[in-house]
Amino acid sequence: MRAERELELRKAGDDASDASRVDGAVGTATPHDSAVLHVNGRATYTDDIPEPRGLLHAAFGVSTEAHARIRGMDLSRVEAAPGVVAVITASDVPGPNNYGAVIADDPILAEDEVVYAGQPVFAVAATTVDAARRAARLADIDYEPLEAILDPETALERESFVLPSTTLARGDADMAIANAPHRLTGTARVGGQDQFYLEGQISIAIPREGGDLFLYSSTQHPGEIQHSVAKALGLAQKDVTVECRRMGGAFGGKESQPALIACTAAILAQRTGRPVKLRLDRDADMIITGKRHDFVSHYEVGFDDTGRILGIRYNHASRCGASADLSGAVNDRAMFHSDNAYFLEHVAIDSHRCKTHTVSNTAFRGFGGPQGMFACEQVVDDIARHLGRDPLDVRRVNFYGTDSRNVTPYGQTIEDNIIAEIVDQLEASTDYRDRRREIEAWNAKSPVLKRGIALTPVKFGISFTATHLNQAGALVNVYTDGTVQLNHGGTEMGQGLFVKVAQVVAETLQIDLSRIRCTASDTSKVPNASATAASAGSDLNGMAARNAAEKIKRRLTGFAAQHYGCDEHEVRFDNNEVHVGGETLSFAELVHAAYMARVSLSAQGFYKTPKIDYDKTTLTGRPFYYFAYGAACTEVVIDTLTGENRMTRVDILHDCGRSLNPAVDLGQVEGGFIQGAGWLTTEELWWNPRGDLKTHAPATYKIPCASDLPPDFRVTLLESSENREDTIYKSKAVGEPPLMLGLSVFHAIRDAVAACSADPKHAPELEAPATPEHVLDAVMTARGDTRV
């Protein structure tokens, strides 16, 4: 037993010591823009919006079969159920029956075949939520069952794919492996993960006039909802407007998936002429919408005596589910991150995008990167155990160099590599070596409990790999009292994007943050915006907003210079005031004067990420503008009787560049780590042999709760760091990278399992998530026990 330790946390830049700075300037630990509304219950989520007159509520009727032909459908009981106003099937979709974002293989409602258990087959609109959901259970559907493929390995065997397999190769991997002094093969298995945003998927479609439609949608991508709804309804994009003020979490799960919800609500609204709300309950949400892909990765690696990798071949097979969705890009990113922070000179990465009769998997924080890195970290760990070396030493000999050994398998030269510095710092601050020795001695005397420790690095590429998505727009409106409405194409899902972008505008215009109101993401204000994804929200929208604010500032500067008869460079905006020659006036006064002089006080801003250039046919070039780095050191204890496991201490050092908001960034790092730890420990998706997902609510699917936060948790943002690229105020993206710090938890558990073996070179056969069952399995294998 150990005494409880106070949480020790260091926050960079908590106070802006510079008194002349505006409130909420860039770099200050300003609270989330909605913090007060969150705590007083007055933040409006989509289901909280006052309901329009005549609102109907919708529900899906879903497939009970994993794979079947629909022989016939009798919906008469559904139609006759109390409160039912409309029932639609695939044939009622006015436009193409599809919401697939990339490839048209995602029917809104199933046609003659169902491809996963839970797939929407029809939808019903009724006067109450309860009436709709009850009616949806009354369908009589005659299925002819077909053979179902329920796991990626079977799919691989049968060559069942949603997209063609892809290979990324450099050098001669096979030759390098064959000639290496040491060779290993192995398999890394990692489970999927449900996003488990607390607010389920929801959309409200409201018919307005002349056939146009307004939608509220809980979505990371209002633009795509607009486009998908227009297509499904046979309307032009101009006829559909989509708004989203905030989401109650998203994590990638509201990137492509909300289109299904919005299209269905829209079709029912168009058909009935009444507003329609479709809100999935938790179980429907988890059954119908996609998750993180589970991966099975075989590897073959050749290495030298120090553990340096000479040649490596990966064979990734991922569960894409029943359709392509975003699986192409997810698997590409898995390939791009199969190096993590390591130089792989001779490398071949095969990627199979397996089609299974399970729900179509989609984006989730990290977007394939975590799975690629999961496989890579296992390779490095296995090498270390094979050589009897400390895994950290093997990690280090494989790190990318700064001047040489610095080109990724896809041909991008890494120009900002700081992984060695971060790992050195963390190794020192955690007393890693001493603790490892102490743990070994302790384990030798402890038969039941075993401890383990691991320090793992993260390198994560920032930018959408689909180059065209790396663009953003913003709209800044200044009103005559000197206050500002800020709008941009990004969406707020809790990550603090709105406050960060508002800080950028506050800094640019030199006005207090309280003078700026962030307004809902709205397709009528900023058109064609990309999804808020790929960690790129503040990079893209911050730049676009600064661009808009600077346009207005330039106009005000020009006006002021002219009006007060001075040079433009004598006009200075500073802390809510504007100094013009010898005069000082408030920002509001200048704005009002400019308005009277007919100066435009509204501007659109635009930004596109420079330097990126990537050929998706060859998978080479520069897909990423820059990389984000971090490292985590985790210590765990496991019970070898039961497989139960617990983190005892975690140290994290993460690079956010020059943070726009250290409080928000710290929140992303901590929250991302815990989410990654959940992915690799307690969160398990389980399908029964029929293909029904049986972990579809918090009773059965276990995300971390408060007691899962380690008792000793020390998180630090890398100090005096700045992005070497010219990003917004030299900050770095922080949404996804910290999730992969969770890999240290898995490897610490692996380390503890290894301590159970009499063979010091034993590489644990531990599958993720490291549930008690998987850990006990690995412990028994390590001990040479067999079960039952």
Partner: protein, 498 residues
């Protein structure tokens, strides 16, 4: 006293008495708030009491009707008529829209405790209940208090910080901002008076198009009504029955609520027995039971979460008889007996004999669990209970094991072992007990008995664990009991990591 009936549901909310004449029996508090009152601060996250986004606080009079107890509960599975005579407090009540924040709220803002904010009102209400009942400082106590709330964004660190910070902040005026231990304010006194008036002797009996809700206060009236109308669904804490409605869309027309029966809400401790009324909640039970059996602290702490324990009753858990209910293995191991009542008749049986087969029990139509009689601790009694699940807090057991033994001169003189999760019902390990009794309590005997556990149980595979894991863990938990009892040093990872 007795049969006087009140057809109108009355409770206190927003400082006013809410009166509902034809309250539907299974409308949830959350539905009422969001749909009828357009009070949308309280959220639906799961509709099964597992995420806490719907958390509200219910204030009720203490036994002497002199003060208020503030308890966080999940409004998503709480039926509205159960609020009769109580006060409902929601997130909107803690601070005016434009006014100063409640210390709980301010602490969360200060600590950056919200990101997406959807879970936040639920955390606010859980923290508020802590604030009103004596906020703990130790990390593990804070964890326990927060076990019923899920947050997917923050990783909890700032929320735990806020739980410590809230009691240090300045308190604005108003009743709710006065913490545990503060003098009773006039405002609170007036709430107490109002609740006293609402809690007259009459039993609530509502009638609506959706069915009836009968909530007798008298145990004889309760027994009579159930014997006469055995089709009625007994509702206790509703933490399972609630899900029949919110998840399975089952119609429950006529509810018989046990929670207001005075005579079933007490715990009587004698020299030999802890005699627990069926309507006693887990929160109340723990206060008494753990004095005798501190070894069961972790088990009960891990029994669901505080809001569920605030609502759920021991009688409900026992009558429900789920094979994965966590209280039964321990109670069976302790030799608990249950008192059953049908109209005027009562009978007492061993708890384990209540369970016949999966979802089949020995209760006859119109018969109900009246009291639960748990033996007092014997000197030298060894007691342990272990729960295995994917997550430490608020998870359902893959395997739950309980042991009670007495070892004299190295020999096992008494042994009772019960498991949950490895058979269709919570069940004793009779063959294993036979392999241990009257034998030397040593490693060889225990290892031999571990093999016998396979005769007692044939577990199944499901989403919580495979049959293989359950079988192995079932054996290993017996070994853990032995190792702990004999001081071989085994402890569990949770204790170690605390």
């Amino acid at each position: 006293m007795g049969d006087a009936v009140n057809p109108t549901l009355r409770f206190l909310h927003d400082g006013n008495i809410v009166e509902i004449d034809h309250a539907a029996p299974t409308r949830t508090v959350l539905q009422w708030l969001r749909e009828d009152r357009m009070r949308c601060g309280t959220k639906e996250g799961c509709a099964e009491g597992d995420c806490g986004a719907c958390m509200v606080v219910v204030a009720s009079l203490n036994e002497e009707a002199t003060t208020l107890d503030y308890r966080a509960i999940n409004s998503c599975i709480q039926f509205l008529p159960t609020l009769h005579g109580k006060e409902l407090i929601t997130v909107e009540n803690l601070s005016p829209a434009a006014g100063p924040l409640h210390p709980v709220q301010q602490a969360l803002v200060d600590c950056h405790g919200s990101q997406c904010g959807f879970c936040t009102p639920g955390f606010v209400m859980t923290l508020f209940a802590m604030y009103k009942s004596g906020a703990p400082e130790a990390r593990s106590d804070i964890d326990d208090a927060l076990a019923g709330n899920l947050c997917r964004c923050t990783g909890y660190r700032p929320i735990i910080d806020a739980a410590r910070r809230m009691v240090t902040l300045e308190r604005p005026a108003g009743r709710h901002a006065q913490p545990h231990g503060a003098a009773t304010s006039d405002e609170e006194r007036s709430a107490i008076e109002t609740l006293r008036a609402l809690n007259d002797e009459r039993s609530l009996h509502t009638e609506s198009r959706k069915g009836t809700f009968a909530a007798p206060t008298d145990v004889d009236a309760f027994a009579r009504l159930y014997a006469a109308e055995p089709h009625r669904r007994i509702l206790a804490g509703g933490t399972d029955v609630g899900l029949w409605v919110t998840k399975d869309y089952r119609d429950i027309d006529d509810v018989l609520y046990i929670g207001n029966v005075e005579a079933l809400r007490d715990i009587a401790v004698t020299d030999t027995v802890i005699d627990v009324g069926a309507a006693v909640t887990f929160t109340e039970l723990m206060r008494v039971l753990l004095d005798d059996y501190p070894e069961l602290t972790d088990l009960f702490r891990r029994w669901a979460s505080p809001p569920i324990r605030n609502a759920a009753t021991l009688g409900g858990n026992i009558a429900n008889g789920s094979p994965i209910g966590d209280s039964m293995p321990a109670l069976i191991a302790l030799g608990t007996r249950v008192l059953l009542r049908h109209d005027h008749d009562t009978r007492e049986i061993d708890l384990e004999s209540l369970y016949i087969d999966y979802q089949v029990n020995d209760l006859q139509p119109g018969e109900f669990v009246k009291r639960i009689r748990i033996p007092r601790r014997r000197p030298d009694q060894l007691v342990a209970s272990y729960k295995l699940s994917k997550r430490f807090d608020q998870d359902i057991s893959a395997v739950c094991a309980a042991f009670s033994a007495q070892v004299e001169d190295g020999r096992t003189q008494h042994i009772r072992i019960a498991y949950g999760g490895v058979a269709g019902v919570p069940k004793r390990a009779l063959a294993t007990e036979a392999a241990l009794i009257d034998k030397s309590f040593d490693e060889a005997t225990v290892r031999a008995a571990m093999a016998v556990l396979d005769e007692d149980f044939s577990p199944l595979t499901d989403m919580r664990a495979s049959a293989d894991y359950r079988a192995t863990a079932t054996r290993n938990l017996l070994y853990r009991f032995f190792a702990e009892a004999t001081g071989l040093g085994a402890t569990d990872v949770y204790t170690y990591a605390r």
